[in-house]
Subunit: 155 residues, 2 copies
Amino acid sequence: MSTQSPTALAPRELAAWKGMLAAHSRLLARLDAELERDHGLPLTSYEVLMYLGDADGGHLRMGELADRLLLSRSGITRLADRLERQGLIGRRRCENDGRGLYAYLTPAGRDKLAAARPAHLAGVRRHFISRLAPDEIEELGAIWQRLLADEAAPA
Amino acid sequence: MSTQSPTALAPRELAAWKGMLAAHSRLLARLDAELERDHGLPLTSYEVLMYLGDADGGHLRMGELADRLLLSRSGITRLADRLERQGLIGRRRCENDGRGLYAYLTPAGRDKLAAARPAHLAGVRRHFISRLAPDEIEELGAIWQRLLADEAAPA
DNA sequence: CTGATATAGTTGCGTCCGCAATCATTTCGA
DNA sequence: TCGAAATGATTGCGGACGCAACTATATCAG
């Protein structure tokens, strides 16, 4: 009874799997804590500002934001509620589609993003990118792309 | 104004970073959904059963479980509450330390684990391990270990 | 031995999120 | 053109979690 079932993972496989969970958790916790501490901004809020700042025309549809942030529709509605209450973003009706809304940065939101962005990117570098060799960065990119390629459940 | 600040991430770096977030999110969502659908068990609940099933003596302290699951102390208390209500685990006082509790599997919990484990491991294989080459598994393990090595905030 | 401090776990409270239901608007078929 | 179905977003509701405060037990200094 010392060995597991036939599908059990080998130590190397386990390290690749559990390690990803642990590293991901720690990375996000640290980046979120730093962003919150230095700019009073949770990571998800930062991401909204960032996508809006980079968007053509300076605005994005709610659903588009939800997709990019990996959030549900209701999740993005409430996140936008909070950001609007903080005066960082606004929402206005889409002229082509009366159902849709555009989210956009307010001047305050623009300022907040300008202040937070360098700090956050530096954090990503410090905690993640700088600890990887160039070929490892390459390989990771290839792995994620492969994993994300199949739309439905894989074989 | 078309280029970003000096700390901006190169496309390769961005792919390595964002890809991890996206792949992690999709992987966990799928594994959790499969486990829930086939065995009525969220991933965190499964992990409790698994650690208890593998533990020496068949029991673990609450705090030890919290650390392994990357949960807070209150989080593990409530998760244990739920599992106990479902009849899958029990809690008894630790004989050496009147403050501590041992969590342990009930017979029902043992059965549930036996049923769910092969399915979950197969899922990890199908969605993750089987899509990686042996040397990629090796390299991922090395990367995670390196990232997790430094206890405090890295340089 | 006793009081101060540390540790294990739980509970109150607030936050964030997803699902299902809902409302408004658009699109499509007949 | 009109009703049916689809789509974008919001709201009600409940689940899961963390932080801070709390209880109970253990440990340690003197």
